[in-house]
Symmetry: C2
DNA sequence: GGCGTCATGTAAAAGGTTACATGATTCC
DNA sequence: GGAATCATGTAACCTTTTACATGACGCC
């Protein structure tokens, strides 16, 4: 039930609307947890019932009224006790690896094309990470404690992206070799 | 709906029982897709209804009867058409990163402890990968096409594990610095 | 006129987890 | 005597995704 805890983290130092939390999931937190606005609105309502949050409604002219959620004492306690407990073991679910596992059933050209597309995504992501680092983390001495921890998560993104790119180069090389073999079959 | 396709991959070159497929998920395929026997039995039944599989029951002495599932023509076609379509973008869901993101709310000792535990898991996994490589992939010349592709997935595991360990060392160093600072606060 | 942003939601379906259940056999 | 292996399943619950829905405002 980590969505609940992601929301508590979001609200931990400032109140926000469901809409803002959803946006946060598409940006910062989105690099390691994801959700949709539908799920978030549901969860926020449940969390009010469980008294982890309170909210006040603010009417606006020309826009629908918004609900601003604030974490309660009990919410902070719930977050802290979650932080103390070990997380459950990370499980990979990677359909691309499944595909490669059965790559012999597919034309290498097709697989190559897909890997190259993914490689472009990975490169874009890497560039984005670099920009974030430059913009927010260039002066390492002036970072707040909170920012120092966030920087560690950015480092994770960068290192993982590097590793993925390294691996994908091996895959591309392999597939290009296969494709060449098919067009110039080895002579006996 | 990738469980379905994982099952098709499992049955693609040999028939198997639900029990065997479940075991396969705990071993080979388990490195990038996971499931439980409950879910697999359900899915197998649905796939028979969809005519992707057929099965025959084999009674055994002293053991419950087993159902041996075989992929159909239509199942092979379904698998092939899935392989042709790009997979949907991989999304990370990593609760540990969430925790680090809000690491400032937790004693660094606690976080350190958890990272060290995870590091041990990662090292064990790495060792297991190395063993698999030695046992099955040491003679690169004699690998079947299928094995060559499986080797690529193993390389992914190794590279990702290396990257994760590299990152975790940065985190450990950071946390140890924090812990030292607390016991010997800097003088002004 | 259309698209993007702000701001909320309902409802159904699909996918995944957890608890419970059975029962023989083999190995320590 | 107890644990692990073989082999299957039901049921409840929780989580996630997808489809549908509304409506004003500002920008190009």
């Amino acid at each position: 039930m980590s969505l609940r805890h992601a929301v508590l983290i979001a609200l931990q130092n400032e109140e926000a609307t469901g809409y803002e939390i959803a946006k946060w999931f598409d940006q910062g937190m989105g690099y390691f947890w994801s959700s949709t606005h539908q799920q978030i609105y549901q969860e926020l309502r449940k969390m009010v019932v469980s008294e982890l949050l309170t909210f006040r409604e603010v009417s606006q002219s020309g826009k629908p009224a918004k609900k601003i959620y604030t974490i309660t004492e009990s919410g902070i306690n719930e977050l802290k006790s979650w932080l103390e407990k070990p997380v459950k073991q990370y499980v990979v679910k990677d359909a691309l690896l499944m595909k490669i596992y059965s790559g012999h059933l597919l034309a290498p050209e097709k697989l190559l094309q897909e890997i190259l597309t993914q490689q472009n995504h990975a490169r874009e992501l890497h560039t984005k990470y670099d920009e974030i680092e430059k913009k927010w983390f260039s002066e390492k001495e002036n970072l707040s404690l909170q920012q120092q921890y966030i920087f560690l998560t950015l480092r994770n993104g960068i290192i993982q992206a590097d590793a993925w790119l390294k691996w994908s180069h091996e895959v591309v090389e392999f597939l290009e070799g296969k494709i060449e073999q098919t067009s110039n079959p080895p002579k006996h």
